[in-house]
């Protein structure tokens, strides 16, 4: 294993984290923006969490924004990957829950922003499913690969990913 390989991986990891940060920034902003709207659907109670969609959008949007800022402005690669993986896993669990209870409506992952953007709710839902799959698989595989790398480099002369300060 060459000495440049950790830096190369680190760059890939960092690029993925930036991508995830930007995605969370967009979806989080969309949710927070939607939560301030006046649409009647916002007062509908979410079937799983039993919060109104307004509160749910606000809460999830704020969490996404916090994660987005952590991803974009900190260099803790493993922590960032863990956060992205955790958030993606939460969304997946939520969607699995919706599927289990037979809720076949499009998920409001973009809030109500799909309307002003001129995207059909079904298209937005499909797009968000694809994004979710990328985030979940990407962050999951990178995170567990990073753990493995750390174990390897712990006993080598190269610094592990989690403590990289460059």
């Amino acid at each position: 294993m060459s000495r440049n390989q950790p830096q190369l991986f680190e760059r890939w990891f960092q690029q993925f984290i930036y991508l995830a940060g930007i995605i969370f920034l967009i979806t989080g902003s969309a949710k927070v923006f939607s939560a301030t709207g006046t649409e009647s659907v916002l007062s509908v109670i979410d079937p799983i969490i039993k919060l109104s969609f307004r509160n749910l959008f606000l809460f999830a949007g704020l969490v996404e924004l916090v994660i987005a800022f952590i991803c974009l402005f900190t260099k803790q690669i493993m922590l960032n990957l863990a956060l992205v993986f955790w958030m993606a896993a939460n969304f997946t669990a939520y969607r699995v829950g919706l599927f289990l209870i037979g809720w076949h409506r499009p998920c409001g992952c973009l809030g109500n922003l799909s309307d002003p953007l001129g995207i059909a709710p079904q298209t937005a839902d499909l797009l968000m499913k694809a994004v979710l799959a990328v985030l979940l698989i990407g962050s999951g595989s990178l995170f567990f690969y990073g753990l493995k790398m750390n174990k390897i480099f712990k006993y080598s002369s190269t610094a592990p990913l989690t403590t990289n300060e460059t």
Partner: protein, 367 residues
């Protein structure tokens, strides 16, 4: 020779086209009902039938309104029009008549009297194809506090003759299974919204299964132009037996034919002469919990399901987000609990992992 053949063929075609109207018949009579408190209501009716009994139109004159239902074999349309006196009494002098359209030949959303008369005179086209499931003929349940009235199945069904298949005798038995069988039937979802509601309803009411709740009998019939038609019939409705309460007759419907003519209507579907507020049950999607669409007919025609405007209206109704969070088709408590547990485990996984990691790091540092 060629001319003769041509004339014969044209005659045959003409006969086929005109036959339903040439040999159709109109039955005039009265239907009275006696309730469990001795109250009596009588309505007069007119049932127009095509010769093969496949097309029909039933007009029922209530004291305050007139119902006209008719079928062209594919759909059944009904118009309910209030009398001027009734409208004046309610101070709505220009009320627009209400209409409904359902798929098939059974006037499922019509009033009890309309449905009983349909069963007596116009059910031939239904029974030619099948016997069950048929939604309950009478509105208001069958003696228990049911959220739906669609819980009677037909047994011991006999026909006046097996060509036209008009019933001469039928027993209606209480059946919760009927509700499950009719999940594709619009009017079950009307009240039993969720699958869990249906299951709960069946669980609560299964003890009443196989009780006789209705008994239909033709006591007199006639042969009109070769077609056997009931002249007098009874439909007795019974209450469900409950602990310490004997089953009693809830109400008796008595139909009596006064005279039959060979008149036929211009169209077996009710003629649209004015604007109608229409509830169209042909546009239903149980999964999306859409049972019907509502619109106003203004061009004096019954619209087809291919109508682009109606399809657009239906699509927009399906794509609407649910008005309430209650309309979830398969959500029972256990499933929701599982969904919540999965989500809770996922949410708590990261904080727990971080806590363990920090603890482990601290203990390593201490060493």
């Amino acid at each position: 020779m060629k001319h003769k053949t041509l004339i014969r063929i044209s005659g045959l075609v003409l006969c086929c086209v005109l036959a339903p109207h040439l040999f159709s018949m109109t039955i005039n009579g009265e239907l009275s009902s006696v309730g469990d408190r001795g109250t009596t209501n009588t309505v007069s009716f007119k049932a127009a039938l095509s010769t093969n009994l496949q097309l029909w139109q039933i007009t029922v004159l209530y004291p305050n309104r007139q119902d006209v239902c008719g079928s062209d074999g594919e759909k059944t349309c009904c118009i309910s029009k209030w009398s001027k006196e009734a409208l004046q009494a309610t101070r709505v002098p220009q009320a627009i008549p209400q209409a409904s359209i359902v798929n098939g030949v059974f006037p499922g959303v019509a009033d009890t009297e309309d449905k009983i008369l349909w069963f007596a005179f116009a059910s031939s086209s239904f029974f030619t194809g099948q016997t069950n499931p048929l939604a309950c003929l009478w509105n208001g349940g069958v003696g228990v506090d049911t959220p739906g009235a669609y819980t009677a199945k037909i047994e011991n069904l006999e026909f006046l003759n097996y060509v036209e298949r008009l019933p001469i005798k039928a027993d209606f038995m209480y059946s919760t299974e009927q509700v499950q069988n009719m999940t594709n039937f619009t009017f079950v979802s009307y009240r039993l919204q969720k699958q869990s509601d249906i299951e709960q309803f069946m669980k609560d009411n299964r003890k009443y299964d196989d009780n006789l709740v209705g008994e239909y009998t033709v006591v007199n019939f006639t042969n009109f132009n070769g077609t056997l038609l009931p002249l007098e019939f009874y439909l007795k409705l019974f209450s469900i037996p409950r602990p310490h309460i004997e089953p009693v007759t809830r109400s008796i419907f008595h139909g009596k034919v006064n005279y039959i003519t060979d008149e036929s209507p211009d169209s077996f579907l009710p003629i649209v002469k004015e604007s109608l507020y229409t509830t169209d049950f042909r546009f239903s999607d149980r999964r999306a919990m859409v049972d019907y669409i509502k619109y106003k007919i203004e061009n004096q025609n019954w619209p087809s399901t291919n109508d682009l405007a109606l399809q657009t209206l239906f699509a927009s109704k399906i794509n609407e987000l649910p008005p309430l969070a209650t309309n979830r088709p398969n959500s029972n408590r256990a499933t929701i609990l599982i969904a919540r547990i999965i989500l809770l485990l996922t949410i708590t996984a990261l904080p727990i992992c971080l806590y363990w990691h920090l603890k482990k790091t601290n203990s390593t540092k201490e060493r």
